[in-house]
C-alpha cells in the first residue's frame, strides 16, 4: 500500500476493483465503512461477481474478468477528453511534460522493437529525450507531439465508452457513472483510494493493470495525499516482508535486482542500478545504491568483504535467464532437470497452476523437504486419495522429509502488514512435540552443510565457509540478533560531510541515511534500517496516539521506509509547500523552522525548501511520477488491452481484430507444453475465475476445526442463466473441466455472478473458490488449481488464476455416502 489501512478513512471515493476486501480483508475493510460513515465517502465496486464488498457498496458495475486495463484505459481517455485532471499536480509531479524519443512507437498492438521469436522487446527507444546537458527535455504547454501527455492521449484514443463496453461487458451507463465519481476527485480537496488484490495481479497482464491504476491516480492528483494512493491489499501476513527482503529469484534484499550473468564486474552491476538525477537538482535516492549494496555484502560476508575483492561480488550467484520463477522451475522439474526442492510454509501442489503437471513434476524429484507447522498436500503428493489425488505411491521414488515448524504463536519476530508496518510478536508457548522455529531449522541445516564443506571440500565452498555467522548459538540464531543485523550497525565511527560524528563503531544505525559505501557500515536490508536502533526495537512500539486526528499513529510499530506512513507524501503539498486543501493537509513546509512538518514523517529530504524545486517521487531520477514507464516493464511503456490466454472472445482482441499476434500479451512467456494445454472457447465456453471466502485462508484453515465447521464443503458458483440453460439447480452436483483436468463440486446458483455480453455474444462466468484439498478437517475436495493454466504475467510470472476457460456440466454420478 502507498497509504495504509486506517488512512482509508480519509478517502472521499473508494474504488474496490480486482479484490474483495470485505471478504478477504474484513477487519481492514472496517476503515472503508468508517469512511462511508464519517467522511461521507462513496464506495464503488467493479468486479465480475456481485461480491460481499459490492453488497455494501454505493455502486456496482460488472466487468469481464481480465479486462481491467480496458476499463481504466477508457477512464484515462475520459479524464483527458473532459479535462478532469488535476493540472497543477500533473504538470509538476508527473512526467506528462517530458519528451519521449522520436523512435518510440506503437502500431497494431505492438510497441517498437518486438522480436516474435523471443516474445520480447528491444526497449531501446522506450526513453525520454535528453538535451546537451544530459537532462530530460520538457514542454510545459503539454502540446508537443512527443510529450508523454500527447502520446498517452493517442494511445488511449481508441478506448471509447462503446469499445470499452464491448470488451469489458460493462454497460455504458454503469461505466460512465463509475468514471464520473472517480473524476470528481481531480479537485484539490478530494481524494480517491484504489484498493486491489490478487484479482489484479493474477493475470498475464497483471502488472500493467496496476500501472494503469497508478496512471489514473497521478492524473487525478491522488498519490501522496491522505485517503489516496494505489493500495495493494496483500495476501499472506508477511508477504510484504518477504518481498521487501527479496526472497525471489531475481531480487536481493531491499529491491536491489539480483546480478545477471552479463554483469560480470561489480562496476557494471552498480552502474546499472545507481540512478543519478536526470532532471537538475532531483533527489534520485537510488544514487546511493553503492552504500546499500556494500552494506549488504558486509552483513553477509563480514571481514571477508573488502574493497579489493569487490566486496565478494563474485560470490553471489548470477542469473543466466531473467527469472527462475516457479513456473519455470516446475517446467524444468517436469523435464527431470531439478533434483531437490524445499517448501518452507508453501504448498505448491495446491498453489502452482495445473495440479496434474505439478504432481508429475514432484514425482521426478530425488528429494523434497517440507518445513511447515501443518501437514500439506505437497508433503503428501505421493498419497493416493482417490479421485482427489489419483497417484500410485509405489511408482513415486521421491524421498520426502517433513520437518515440524513452529506457528506464529510459538515464534518471536516481526511481520510486515500490507501498510508496510513491521510489527513484533512474542512467544506464547512451546510448539507441539519437537517442532522448532524456522530460524533454528535453517540455522541447524546450514550449520550441517557448512561442516560438510569444511570437512570434505566441494564445489565453490567460499561463500558457504565464509558466510558471516556470529550468532551466539550457531545452530540457533535468535530473532533479535537477526533483526539487529538487517537493521545494520556501524563498523567504524561514522561522520557526516562536515566531519561531525553521527554514529560510533558498534552502534546500531538509526536509518539508511547513515549507510556508507566504504565498508564502514553493515545492513542486511537497507529499507529496514531504523527498525532496531540504539533506542531499541522500534517494531515493538505500542503508542497508538494520533495527535493530528487523521489516523497517522507514528508511535505504533515501525513502518518502512524511515517510519513514513504515506509514501510520496511531499505530493500532499503544492509545489510552494502549502497543503492542497486544509482537509487534505499531511506535511507542509514550515519557513520559520526551515523544514517539513506535519502528521507524517516526510518522505522527502526534511530541509529541502520548496524553492529548490525537488519533486516528490524521490526514487525516480526525474523526481516525478511515471505516466510513461520507460524500460521498466517488459510489455510496453503504456498498458494495453490483451485478452487472457484462454479467452471467451472468438474475434480475439477487439481493439486489434484478427491480429492473432496481439490477441494475448505478446511479451508473456509460455512454454510449449503449457500452450498445448490451453483450451478454446468452443470446447470450454465458460469464463472462470478463482476466489476465496472470508472463513478460509488458502489451504490452511481447512485444518482448523472452527473454519472447517463454518465453511465445510467445496462448491462452485454459477449464475441463474447458466443454471437454467444446463438444468442445474442449487445443491446439484456439477463437473467443471478445463483442458487440464476436472473437479466435481456442489453448485451454488446465484444472482451474484451473471452472464455478460462481450462483442455481442453472451458469456457465462463461473466462480471457483479455492480452499479445499485432500487433507484436513473440512470435507475432502479437489484442489482448484487442477483447472488453472500455466502461464504468467509478462513481468512477474504471477500465474493467470483469474481468467481461464472451463466447461460446466451437470454431474449425475452418485455422490451419496462418504465421498
Amino acid at each position: 500500500m502507498t497509504n495504509h489501512w486506517v488512512d482509508i478513512r480519509n478517502a472521499d471515493v473508494i474504488l474496490v476493483m480486482g479484490g474483495n476486501a470485505a471478504e478477504a480483508h474484513p477487519v481492514g475493510f472496517r476503515w472503508v465503512t468508517e469512511a462511508k460513515e464519517h467522511n461521507n465517502a462513496t464506495l464503488m465496486v467493479v468486479d465480475p461477481r456481485f461480491t460481499r464488498t459490492a453488497s455494501v457498496a454505493d455502486y456496482y458495475a460488472p466487468i469481464r474478468t481480465g479486462t481491467d486495463i480496458t476499463f481504466l484505459g477508457g477512464l484515462i481517455k475520459y479524464l483527458i477528453d473532459n479535462d478532469r485532471i488535476q493540472r497543477e499536480y500533473v504538470l509538476n509531479y508527473t512526467d506528462a511534460a517530458l519528451l519521449v524519443d522520436e523512435a518510440f512507437g506503437f502500431e497494431d498492438g505492438l510497441f517498437d522493437g518486438y522480436d516474435e521469436s523471443r516474445r520480447s522487446y528491444a526497449k531501446e527507444n522506450w526513453r525520454y529525450q535528453t538535451g546537451a546537458d544530459g537532462f530530460v527535455l520538457r514542454d510545459d504547454t503539454l502540446r508537443h507531439p512527443r510529450c508523454v501527455f500527447q502520446l498517452m492521449r493517442a494511445h488511449y484514443d481508441a478506448y471509447t465508452p462503446e469499445m470499452v463496453s464491448s470488451i469489458c461487458g460493462t454497460p455504458v451507463d454503469r461505466m460512465l457513472h463509475v468514471w464520473e465519481q472517480m473524476a470528481s476527485t481531480a479537485t484539490e480537496d478530494r481524494t480517491l483510494t484504489i484498493l486491489y488484490a490478487l484479482g489484479w495481479t493474477q493475470h498475464s497482464i497483471g502488472a500493467q493493470i496496476i500501472r494503469t491504476a497508478g496512471m489514473v491516480q497521478l492524473l487525478l492528483g491522488n498519490i501522496g495525499l491522505p485517503g489516496g494512493g494505489v493500495n495493494a491489499l496483500r495476501g499472506h501476513s508477511n508477504i510484504q516482508g518477504l518481498t521487501d527482503l527479496g526472497l525471489l529469484s531475481n531480487q536481493l534484499p531491499g529491491y536491489i535486482a539480483a546480478p545477471a550473468a552479463t554483469e560480470q564486474s561489480l562496476a557494471s552491476f552498480l552502474d546499472a542500478r545507481r540512478k543519478m538525477p536526470t532532471v537538475a537538482d532531483q533527489v534520485s535516492y537510488w544514487q546511493h545504491m553503492d552504500a546499500f549494496f556494500i552494506s549488504l555484502m558486509k552483513a553477509w560476508y563480514g571481514e571477508r568483504a573488502q574493497a579489493d575483492n569487490d566486496w565478494c561480488y563474485g560470490w553471489l550467484p548470477k542469473l543466466t535467464q531473467p527469472l527462475y520463477d516457479v513456473l519455470d522451475t516446475f517446467e524444468r522439474m517436469s523435464r527431470g532437470e531439478i533434483y531437490g526442492y524445499f517448501c518452507q510454509g508453501f504448498n505448491p501442489l495446491a498453489a502452482i497452476p495445473d495440479k496434474n503437471k505439478v504432481s508429475k513434476a514432484l514425482a521426478k524429484l530425488k528429494y523434497l523437504v517440507s518445513i511447515d507447522p501443518l501437514n500439506t498436500e505437497t508433503a503428501e503428493f505421493w498419497r493416493n486419495a482417490g479421485e482427489f489425488n489419483d497417484v500410485d505411491p509405489s511408482e513415486i521414488q521421491t524421498e520426502v522429509f517433513r520437518l515440524p515448524a513452529n506457528s506464529f504463536a510459538e515464534d518471536e519476530g516481526s511481520i510486515v502488514n500490507s501498510a508496510r508496518w513491521l510489527q513484533w510478536h512474542y512467544v506464547a508457548a512451546d510448539g507441539p512435540g519437537e517442532s522448532m522455529p524456522d530460524t533454528h531449522i535453517i540455522g541447524a541445516l546450514f550449520h550441517r552443510v557448512r561442516e560438510l564443506y569444511a570437512r570434505e571440500g566441494g564445489a565453490f565452498p567460499d561463500p558457504i565457509l565464509n558466510l558471516a555467522w556470529d550468532y551466539k548459538q550457531p545452530e540457533r540464531p535468535e530473532a533479535d540478533e537477526i533483526a539487529r543485523e538487517f537493521n545494520g550497525r556501524a563498523l567504524a565511527d561514522i561522520r557526516d560531510p562536515n566531519g561531525v560524528l553521527v554514529r560510533r563503531a558498534g552502534e546500531q544505525l538509526s536509518g539508511f541515511a547513515e549507510l556508507r559505501d566504504d565498508g564502514s557500515t553493515l545492513s542486511g536490508c537497507w529499507v529496514f534500517a531504523g527498525a532496531w536502533t540504539e533506542q531499541g526495537n522500534q517494531m515493538a512500539n505500542r503508542d497508538n496516539s494520533d495527535p493530528y486526528g487523521n489516523g497517522q499513529t507514528l508511535g505504533w510499530a515501525w513502518a518502512w521506509p524511515a517510519n513514513r506512513r504515506i509514501l510520496y507524501n511531499r505530493a500532499a503539498a503544492r509545489p510552494d509547500g502549502t497543503p492542497w486543501a486544509p482537509r487534505k493537509a499531511l506535511i507542509w513546509w514550515n519557513e520559520a523552522q526551515s523544514r517539513w512538518v506535519g502528521a507524517d514523517v516526510p518522505d522527502f529530504p526534511a530541509n529541502s525548501p520548496p524553492a529548490l524545486g525537488q519533486m516528490p517521487f524521490i526514487m525516480n531520477p526525474e523526481g516525478v511520477g511515471h505516466l510513461f514507464a520507460g524500460q521498466s516493464m517488459n510489455d510496453g511503456p503504456f498498458p494495453t488491452h490483451y485478452e487472457p490466454f484462454e479467452s471467451p472472445v472468438p474475434e480475439g482482441n477487439l481493439l486489434f481484430p484478427r491480429k492473432e499476434k496481439v490477441k494475448n500479451n505478446p511479451a508473456a512467456r509460455i512454454f510449449d507444453a503449457d500452450r498445448a494445454m490451453l483450451g478454446d472457447w468452443q470446447e470450454f465456453p465458460h469464463a472462470a475465475t478463482t476466489y476465496r471466502l472470508t472463513e478460509h485462508f488458502h489451504y490452511w484453515t481447512k485444518h482448523s476445526h472452527l473454519n472447517a465447521v463454518v465453511q465445510p464443503e467445496q462448491f462452485v458458483e454459477i449464475g441463474e442463466a447458466l443454471g437454467n440453460e444446463l438444468g442445474i439447480r442449487a445443491g446439484d452436483w456439477v463437473k467443471v473441466s478445463s483442458r487440464r483436468g476436472y473437479i466435481r463440486a456442489v453448485a451454488v446458483v446465484t444472482k451474484r455472478i451473471r452472464a455478460i455480453t462481450v462483442g455481442g455474444r453472451i458469456v457465462h462466468q463461473v466462480g471457483i473458490p479455492i480452499h479445499w484439498g485432500f487433507l484436513g478437517q473440512a470435507r475432502k475436495g479437489f484442489l482448484a488449481n487442477t483447472l488453472t493454466p500455466s502461464v504468467g504475467d509478462a513481468n512477474t510470472q504471477t500465474p493467470e488464476y483469474k481468467s481461464f476457460l472451463v466447461k460446466v456440466e451437470k454431474d449425475d454420478a452418485d455422490h451419496g455416502g462418504e465421498r
Binding site: G28, H236, L248, G314, G340, F401, H425, A429, E434, R542
Partner: protein, 197 residues
C-alpha cells in the same frame, strides 16, 4: 466515589489478587458485568502480544496461556482474542482470526521430523539429527554435482539451479532474512515465495 475501571483494567486488578466482590462493594465496578466471567476464565493466564498469522491486515491478537513460568512447565494456550489497543483492528478479528486457537491446536500440526522413503506409502518418525544429516547430504551431493561455474556464453555465474527453494511468506522477517542469506550463499537461483503467485 466513582472511578471508571475498564474491563481490561479490571481484569488486571483481578489478576493481581484483589477480590472482585470487595472491589464492587467499594464502588470499583467494571462497566460490563460480563467481565467477572471473563476474569474467571483468564485468571492466572499469561498474556502475550502477537499478530494474526493469516492476512496482511495484521490484526493485533492477545494470546492467553496457562502454566506457571517455572522451568520445564509448558505453557498451554487456552484463548486468543483481538488486541483492543491495536490502531487498525481495535480488538476485532474476522472469522479466520477468530479461529486461530483451532489452527494452533490443529490435529494436522506436525510434531516430529518424519521421512517417507521412496516407493512407500507411510511416514516414518526420525530424529532431528537424522533428518538434518540426510538433507545436508542431499544438498551437498546435488550441489557438488550440478554447480555451474561458467554458463554457455562463458560468463562466470557460480550458481546452482537443480535444487529450488520456496520460502514462507507467513514466517517472520527474521526467518526470511536468514533463509535468503543461506539460500543465496549456497548459489541457489530457483528461489521464490508466495509473492510470486
Amino acid at each position: 466515589m466513582s472511578i471508571r475501571v475498564t474491563r481490561r483494567g479490571f481484569f488486571k486488578l483481578g489478576a493481581a489478587g484483589v477480590a472482585s466482590s470487595s472491589m464492587a462493594m467499594m464502588g470499583f465496578a467494571p462497566e460490563a458485568a460480563a467481565a467477572s466471567v471473563r476474569q474467571f476464565k483468564l485468571t492466572h493466564t499469561r498474556e502475550t502480544r502477537n499478530i494474526c498469522t493469516y492476512c496482511s491486515v495484521g490484526c493485533g491478537v492477545l494470546i492467553y496461556s496457562r502454566g506457571d513460568a517455572a522451568k520445564n512447565a509448558h505453557q498451554q494456550i487456552i484463548h486468543i482474542e483481538g488486541d483492543p489497543d491495536h490502531p487498525v483492528s481495535r480488538g476485532a478479528l474476522c472469522p479466520k482470526g477468530a479461529g486461530l486457537l483451532d489452527y494452533v491446536k490443529s490435529p494436522s500440526r506436525l510434531r516430529f521430523p518424519e521421512v517417507r522413503e521412496p516407493g512407500t506409502s507411510e511416514w516414518k518418525r526420525i530424529s532431528w539429527d537424522e533428518a538434518l544429516t540426510r538433507i545436508a547430504r542431499h544438498i551437498k551431493t546435488d550441489r557438488d554435482a550440478n554447480f555451474v561455474t561458467t554458463d554457455e556464453q562463458g560468463n562466470t555465474v557460480n550458481h546452482w539451479a537443480t535444487t529450488g527453494f520456496l520460502a514462507a511468506s507467513a514466517s517472520s522477517n527474521e526467518s526470511g532474512y536468514l533463509t535468503h542469506k543461506v539460500v543465496r550463499s549456497l548459489g541457489m537461483v530457483a528461489f521464490d515465495n508466495q509473492a510470486r503467485v
